[in-house]
Symmetry: C2
Subunit: 191 residues, 2 copies
DNA sequence: GGCACTCAACCAACCAGTTAGTAAGCTCGG
DNA sequence: CCGAGCTTACTAACTGGTTGGTTGAGTGCC
């Protein structure tokens, strides 16, 4: 086996992502991550310092990418919600990581500069759309954003039983989510 | 100090509730629970078997009570949502326990008979209200129930920073939540 | 005395993090 | 082309401390 520090780093990150998403920080086992990455435990320490910093590294890169990946479309928020929903469905581990972060680290991972900036930008875009009358002013921009995030990211988790949902069930859920966002953002009949 | 097994039991349950809500199952420490309950660790085992069963005991009684405590009012679902929101605000530990259950036990705590029955009854009540035209049929009864649960229970958690929200902020959040539910359930102009 | 209850001390397993060492590639003078 | 010397990637084995769970010796009420 050739030596490949970048590849090993990546394998560790992948293994740790799966382990942390599955079991959280307290429940994750460093030995299990190392075994799953096919390398020695101490490598993990030379590369990433310790368990907490490993989680931080994963969280910052994964979640920050997630938040910035889907640009907001204030002209069709239901469609935007649908795309968010799809992303969260194809990356369920990110949702779980974010929940672990909330529960185990009081959400400190969500307070890094990049994420805060992206959220602020989205809220401002929503505020402009509301001023222009294209979006209902029922909720404040921040509240509307929170509602969309809540519904798109956590809907599958709330429904989940032991088995993962069928494609048909997934499509139903997606329809419900977009219907909710559509209803929330509809500006009503134009004057 | 007089002997009082019932009191000790209760103190253990209270301490364990706080510990589990704060740190989850994997993060909770049995010694800390015992110390906080002011009793010996072994008592905890004679009364509750082990750590997991202690969590189960707490979860089943607390969450089941929570789900059944606020009866659904299909004639004013926004108000119902407001009451749910209040309950979840005054009992944030229950929300956290439910999240830990989802993440660490794949939500098995939510699948006990009592909770499932209560949810089914609420969905049926919603279905009747929709048939009668009092509630929008935008969403299926189960989806509408899921949306209400999601928004009322997790809204404060998603907003939470290190410090707990001020009463004024809490009132704002409550208004947003009831506005969302109101918008989602509004049957529209009567024919 | 018997019984329900209480506790300090203990144990084996586990776990995050460390250490001391090995070996694969790279470099550079010859 | 070569091989001594150095750097980098990696590892087995260990350490100090923690953790869930047990046990056996009390303690006080009937």
């Amino acid at each position: 086996m050739a030596r490949d520090s970048q590849g090993t780093r990546r394998r560790i990150l992948e293994a740790a992502t799966a382990e942390f998403a599955e079991r959280g920080i307290a429940g994750a086992r460093v030995d299990r991550i190392a075994a799953s990455a096919g390398c020695n435990k101490s490598l993990l320490y030379t590369y990433f310092g310790n368990k907490d910093r490993l989680f931080e590294t994963i969280f910052d890169s994964l979640v920050a990418e997630m938040v910035t990946a889907t640009p907001i479309d204030t002209t069709d928020l239901a469609c935007y919600a649908g795309r968010l929903f799809d992303r969260y469905c194809t990356h369920p581990e990110v949702v779980r990581l974010a929940l672990w972060d909330r529960l185990e680290r009081d959400g400190q991972g969500m307070r890094v500069a990049g994420i805060v900036a992206a959220e602020t930008a989205k809220a401002e875009a929503l505020a402009r759309a509301q001023d222009g009358g294209a979006v209902s002013a029922l909720l404040s921009p921040a509240d509307l954003l929170a509602a969309i995030t809540l519904v798109t990211s956590l809907w599958p988790l709330m429904q989940a039983h032991d088995d993962s949902p069928s494609p048909a069930r997934l499509a139903e859920m997606r329809t419900a989510v977009t219907a909710i966002v559509s209803r929330l953002t509809d500006p009503g009949p134009t004057r």
